[in-house]
């Protein structure tokens, strides 16, 4: 069973990401000189075990989607390693990467733009099979129908076009396409954020059922903390291209260690009108990833920042078994857990 998985180190991880970086050059002028870099993803490391869901949360511009794309090798990482089942995939050429794609699939955010409007649903879902599998037409069509039924769509959906479906149904089509080649891992990039709440619940349930039945691993990238909490086993919180906290879901949401995680959780409006929020409202905006602050990247908005935070960047380190945080407040070398966080 997959319930409460917290110790993926004990088995071979399915996906390993080591110091992954993606910088985008900024070019200017007549000769397109590189005048700067956008440090979109700036050295992140984590692993995902078989049948596990790792959630990545953060606000716009924190690099979570870029991380997903770099792992999928849809954009070339600037530095670092990505390993799938122990084999490096970040440096593979297009042709070699093709064979890896069977294992590693993706579900995109926007169910409107990620399906070709001119293809029938049967062709959309069958396309990966056509590309990778030598099954004959009849077997392929059977497989498509099996997949459609698996994601809760009727078999006759295969003959229709994407515009005939609602947002939630289109997302099901996207999921069926991702499942077509029996992948081991699916990167889900904001798969439910374009959907209405009642439909969101349907898709979240579907993803969790599929994981249980097909033993899938998910890298679940999203900004909605409640959705991530529900679906993930472990969660990584990103801020300005870095992971600031990585922990099992339960500890992270009940006892956040990083001040950013704490503020992020307190910022979410709760659907209970009697409980008036006890909120930490962060001042200011997220700084630009072109010129991230020196020292701890969060110090410009952190309510607990002290002198050390302005100069020294805290590394992500394990402070309790299974809990990693990048914050000087939790530095054991100081002999304490730092100034205690007012709760």
């Amino acid at each position: 069973m997959t319930i409460g998985r917290i110790a993926p180190e004990t088995e071979t991880p399915l996906l390993e990401v080591e110091n992954l970086k993606k910088h985008f050059p900024i070019r200017k002028g007549l000769f397109s000189r590189v005048v700067g870099q956008v440090y979109a993803v700036d050295g992140i490391s984590f692993s995902v075990a078989p049948n596990e869901t790792l959630g990545i949360v953060g606000e716009s511009g924190c690099g979570k989607s870029t991380a997903g794309k770099a792992i999928l090798n849809l954009i070339k990482p600037t530095d670092g390693e990505v390993k799938l089942e122990g084999k490096r995939i970040d440096n593979l050429s297009g042709a070699k990467m093709r064979s890896v794609r069977k294992q590693l699939q993706v579900v995109f955010q926007d169910p409107y733009s990620s399906l070709n409007p001119r293809l029938r649903v049967g062709e959309i879902v069958g396309e990966p099979i056509l590309n990778f599998d030598s099954r004959n037409r009849h077997a392929r069509e059977e497989r498509v129908i099996e997949l459609l039924e698996r994601v809760g769509l009727p078999a006759d959906a295969a003959k229709k076009y994407p515009y005939e479906f609602s947002g939630g149904q289109r997302q099901r089509i996207g999921i069926a396409r991702a499942l077509a080649l029996d992948p081991k891992m699916i990167v889900c990039d904001e798969p439910v954020s374009a959907l209405d709440v009642s439909v969101q619940a349907q898709v979240v349930n579907l993803l969790m059922d599929l994981q249980q039945d097909l033993k899938l691993s998910y890298l679940f990238v999203a900004h909605d903390l409640a959705v991530v909490e529900h679906i993930s086993h472990r969660v990584a919180v990103m801020y300005l291209g870095k992971i600031v906290e990585l922990s099992d879901k339960h500890s992270l949401f009940s006892d956040p260690l990083h001040p950013y995680t704490e503020a992020l959780l307190s910022a979410v409006p709760q659907p209970s009108p009697r409980r008036k929020p006890d909120r930490i409202v962060l001042k200011g905006d997220v700084p630009s990833p072109i010129n991230p602050p020196k020292g701890c990247r969060f110090h410009t908005r952190c309510p607990y920042a002290f002198d050390r935070c302005y100069v020294e960047e805290p590394p992500l380190r394990e402070v309790e078994p299974g809990r990693q945080v990048a914050c000087h407040l939790h530095d054991d070398a100081e002999g304490t857990k730092g100034p205690s966080l007012p709760s």
């Binding site: 409460g4 939630g168 009642s198 619940a201 909490e229 307190s266 910022a267 659907p271 008036k276 905006d285």
Partner: protein, 352 residues
């Protein structure tokens, strides 16, 4: 600035006695879109009212008609294809739907103003922030350009924009998303409107920025005493901001109640389903995988076809035969608590 805001508050209170207690009354509003594919009944016989200084939330999912309701109030519908086919929208007793466009212009931005969802597309990219805020002041209050600019600086300070003197000369692209939404709010408040219509004002923003904007809106409401219609799909935001809530489904109002009653004792199965399917932070602290989310099966009906019976019946677990043939009317099920459902009492029992 502060003095003018206070006088606005007195105004609002003074005006309250003038009509009944309602600042805005929407009565039997039906807004249809006449398209080549047929008539879309985007808003169908919707009534509600807003008292002076009150915050009313209108919630519902995409296509429920909540935004069309707000555009109808503002008189900003594009006609054709849209047309208000029946109903009244009364601001302090005066029916806005009968006003000629020239009169409506004096109301819009002055007595009622609006904050839109997307601060980037609703600001003019080639005008400075100051010009855009000042425009309403020049138009409605007859200020000179110079006076308008200094008022714009005051307004930017009011919405907590640092370095207001510098920002007032900047263009929208130079500001972050949160800043732009603050500018939108400053624009909306420029003439101290009695009613502010906020259409998903924080939906495009990150949560930490959303927290700032919600805090700002609550603050400003205290200071200015404007009534707010808060249109949103986010039940968390509703719980935090609203005093009263109107729930819409498929163009119809299906429930209305004070906020606590609505969240604790929903009387319409759609509201109950919505509340069940929304994820609460910290609620899955138990074992993962054991709990499935409650989902509302199926999808929202098409508004192009005439809906027979209750619009929610095909997705409703309480639905019986007559739900599919007879449309339930909105009834007061408990004090101040209205719902359009035949099985309200059964639902209320179940919830207990």
């Amino acid at each position: 600035m502060v003095a003018t805001i206070e006088s606005a508050e007195e105004d609002a209170v003074g005006q309250q006695g003038h009509d009944e207690s309602a600042l805005l009354e929407v009565e039997g509003l039906s807004t249809y879109f006449f398209t080549r594919d047929g008539v879309v009944r985007a808003v169908d016989d919707v009534s509600f009212s807003v008292a002076a200084g009150e915050t009313v939330a209108v919630v519902g999912e995409s296509g429920c008609g909540k935004s069309v309701t707000s555009l109808s109030i503002m008189g900003l519908l594009q006609t054709p294809p849209a047309r208000i086919v029946s109903g009244h929208i009364k601001l302090q007793g005066r029916d806005l739907l009968t006003l000629p466009e020239s009169e409506m212009r004096k109301v819009r931005g002055n007595e009622i103003s609006m904050i839109f969802q997307e601060p980037m597309t609703s600001l003019n990219p080639v005008l400075t922030i100051g010009r855009q805020i000042g425009e309403t002041l020049v138009l409605h209050e007859g200020l000179s350009e110079k006076e308008a600019e200094s008022r714009a600086v005051e307004l930017l300070r009011l919405v907590n924009i640092p370095e207001a003197e510098r920002r007032v000369r900047e263009y929208p692209h130079q500001l972050s998303g949160g800043m732009r939404q603050r500018v939108m709010i400053a624009m909306a408040l420029a003439c101290q409107p009695k009613l502010l219509v906020a259409d998903e004002p924080t939906t495009a923003l990150d949560v930490t920025i959303q927290a700032q904007i919600l805090e700002l809106m609550s603050d400003l409401k205290q200071k200015t005493g404007s009534a707010i219609i808060f249109i949103t799909h986010d039940l968390g935001v509703v719980a935090e901001m609203a005093e009263r809530v109107v729930v819409m489904y498929a163009g119809k109002k299906v429930e209305e109640a004070p906020v606590v009653d609505l969240f604790e004792r929903p009387r319409h199965p759609y509201t109950a389903g919505l509340l069940d399917s929304v994820l609460k932070l910290g609620s899955s602290s138990g074992e993962r995988g054991k709990r499935r989310l409650n989902e509302i099966p199926g999808t929202v009906p098409s508004l192009k076809d005439e809906i027979v019976g209750c619009p929610f019946a095909p997705r409703c677990s309480y639905a019986t035969d007559y739900c599919r043939t007879d449309a339930p009317v909105l009834e007061e099920k408990a004090p101040e608590h209205f719902a359009a459902c035949f099985h309200s009492d059964q639902l209320a029992e179940q919830e207990n």
